[in-house]
């Protein structure tokens, strides 16, 4: 039996929906969620060993969701940081302008060595608020840190012109190699510092999920879990959340 604090932005909603609907088969005796938009969570600061909402807009968001304005991470056995800008979109931001040696060589993009591409990706992901929070909380105590990156978007993203990176990756045949770069970046970032929970079951390929996991996706509202816009390919539903929660639950039994 263990306690778990799940902290993040809109991607927390899928986990909360699973928990609230009783879909998540976990061994936790206590799970608390703290969620707010990324721009507001920038104002979650460390004060006297606690995480404190230092900004009025963040406090108002917390009030709406009945969160306390501060929390002591050491009260929990596991701290989970979810979403908060750490995900495949950062990889695509790099990919649409640059390619690595092991990728298709486009004249319209700039070449980078694999080493350089990988370092840039680690840097981009390391600058996410998710990673910033993990570093802040790690300094506070011994709570086990776990990272749940943003989910891989629905494979429908390949035909979404507003996110051209995925379509480019498919056209170029770079899906698998991008998956390798992404996995390595996550490994570099988390090694020795945080556990990584990224369920493989929903994946349709290395960088997308099966559409059923984003169908009926949920977002942050007063009950944390109201349905999202159908066209949102980047947020997942309670079924996905249940898979994440089950994986989270298994961590204490595997690690001491």
């Amino acid at each position: 039996m263990a306690s778990c604090l799940i902290l993040g932005n809109s991607h927390v909603a899928a986990l909360a929906a699973a928990q609230n609907a009783g879909l998540a088969a976990t061994s936790f005796d206590r799970v608390e969620f703290i969620a707010a938009p990324r721009d507001q969570l920038k104002h979650l600061v460390v004060e006297s060993g606690r995480l404190v909402a230092s900004d009025e807009s963040l406090r108002m968001s917390f009030d709406k969701l009945n969160f306390s304005h501060s929390v002591d991470p050491r009260d929990f056995d596991i701290i989970v940081v979810c979403g908060l800008g750490l995900g495949l979109r950062r990889l695509m931001r790099l990919y649409v302008t640059h390619y690595a040696d092991t990728m298709r060589h486009d004249p319209g993009r700039r070449p980078l060595s694999d080493d350089c591409f990988q370092q840039a990706l680690v840097g981009l992901m390391g600058r996410s608020l998710a990673w910033n929070l993990i570093e802040k909380i790690s300094e506070l105590g011994s709570s086990r840190m776990t990272l749940v990156p943003e989910p891989a978007p629905s494979s429908e993203v390949y035909s979404d012109h507003t996110n051209p990176g995925w379509a480019l990756a498919k056209r170029n045949g770079d899906i698998d190699v991008l998956g390798v770069f992404y996995a390595k970046a996550l490994d570099v970032l988390t090694k020795g510092r945080a556990s990584l929970v990224l369920p493989k079951q929903p994946l349709e390929d290395a960088i997308t999920s099966a559409p059923r996991y984003s169908s009926g996706s949920v977002r942050l509202t007063n009950d944390l879990t109201s349905h999202h816009d159908k066209a949102d390919l980047f947020h997942m539903n309670a079924e996905y959340g249940a898979l994440v929660m089950a994986t989270l639950s298994s961590i204490p039994q595997h690690e001491s």
Partner: protein, 354 residues
């Protein structure tokens, strides 16, 4: 003493006693009178030996438009970006120590021929012999080197189409040439990558005439493409780390710098669009008493870089540094300029027996 000597009544800056012996502030006053000004809207391109990195960095800090045709990808920290050759100059050409390298780069960038890169090998990885330091771990193959080089040359070409002011710092006359192609390398094979084979490369010490020819050719190439381009040449004050001649390294350094300095003088004396900025004199002049060199008597101190750059900016009418007296009062002040340039030449230190 005659009262009608041509030396009577000259400007204070013309006499050693009043211009140099009086100390740093006197020496720097009027040491540089630009032939043309650089505005903050001029597109500046920088290239040259390691010391030139300071020029680009400081121009950017002061709000000048320093072109960067190959910016670092998002995510790279400044230190890592620098290790991959990003942000050091206006493109990732690495250090261009010689006028021969500059000429060669321009010719190659504007050539219609397919890129024929020369790859040096190290631990199974391939390095661009003409800029071996821009990929610290090399690339998988010679084909990759050629592909990267081709993209790089396209970036250089785009620079040349936009440049208003080209700032080039000459560093060396000593150069290693590929016997088969005549290509001038920035460093000897075996220093960063590759291995030295006297059947493939030969040492050459550029003569005065060769440097003049190379500089004039470089200016002509750029002006053909960009007729309004202007040029500022400087000579790096940084001595040779090692010489491949049989001379003492100090003698070799003096020869090299003297040739570069004289060659620049020849070029600017015949071209109104070219100017010389005396960074060499500011750092090595007797008035500095070597305070502008680190303990190794080679690397330029942050204070030295500051003196050079403040002279440059104040001479170009940048009033923020019109009063320089404070800047030389505290030799411990290394402030914001750290000597963190990327320099293949410095690697030669490792070959010296202690």
């Amino acid at each position: 003493m005659s009262d009608n000597s041509p030396y009577i009544g000259l400007n204070k800056r013309s006499y050693w006693k009043t211009a140099v012996a009086g100390g740093m502030s006197d020496a720097l006053s009027g040491i540089y009178r630009p032939r043309f000004t650089i505005s903050t809207t001029d597109a500046v391109v920088t290239a040259g030996s390691c010391f030139a990195q300071h020029i680009g960095t400081n121009l950017k800090k002061r709000g000048y438009v320093v072109l960067d045709a190959e910016p670092a990808p998002p995510g790279l920290s400044p230190d890592v970006a620098k290790a991959y050759g990003f942000g050091l100059y206006s493109a990732r050409y690495g250090n261009v120590y010689t006028a021969r390298q500059l000429r060669q780069l321009l010719v190659e960038a504007l050539s219609d021929q397919p890129t024929r890169a020369i790859a040096w090998l190290k631990n199974g990885r391939a390095y661009d012999a003409l800029r071996p330091s821009v990929e610290p771990n090399g690339l998988p193959s010679a084909e990759d080197v050629a592909r990267h080089r081709s993209a790089h040359l396209a970036a250089v070409r785009s620079l040349l189409e936009q440049v208003d002011v080209f700032v080039f710092t000459l560093g060396l006359t000593e150069v290693w040439l590929d016997r088969a192609t005549g290509a001038a390398y920035p460093t000897a094979p075996g220093t960063v990558a590759g291995s030295y084979n006297p059947d493939e490369v030969r040492f050459h010490n550029l003569s005065y005439n060769e440097v003049v020819d190379d500089l004039n050719a470089a200016v002509d190439i750029i002006r053909n493409l960009r007729p309004s381009a202007r040029f500022i040449f400087t000579v790096s004050p940084v001595p040779l780390t090692a010489t491949a001649t049989d001379d003492h390294v100090l003698v070799a350094t003096t020869r090299s710098k003297a040739i570069l300095r004289a060659a620049v003088d020849d070029v600017i004396s015949k071209r109104a669009d070219c100017d010389y900025f005396p960074s060499f004199e500011i750092i090595t002049g007797a008035m500095s008493g070597n305070v502008f060199f680190e303990k190794n008597l080679r690397s330029v101190t942050a204070q030295g870089v500051k003196a050079v750059m403040n002279t440059f900016f104040s001479s170009h009418g940048d009033v923020q540094h019109a009063d320089r007296t404070q800047e030389f009062s505290n030799p411990e002040d290394q402030s914001d300029i750290k000597d963190s340039v990327v320099c293949e030449d410095a690697l030669l230190d490792a070959f010296a027996k202690s």
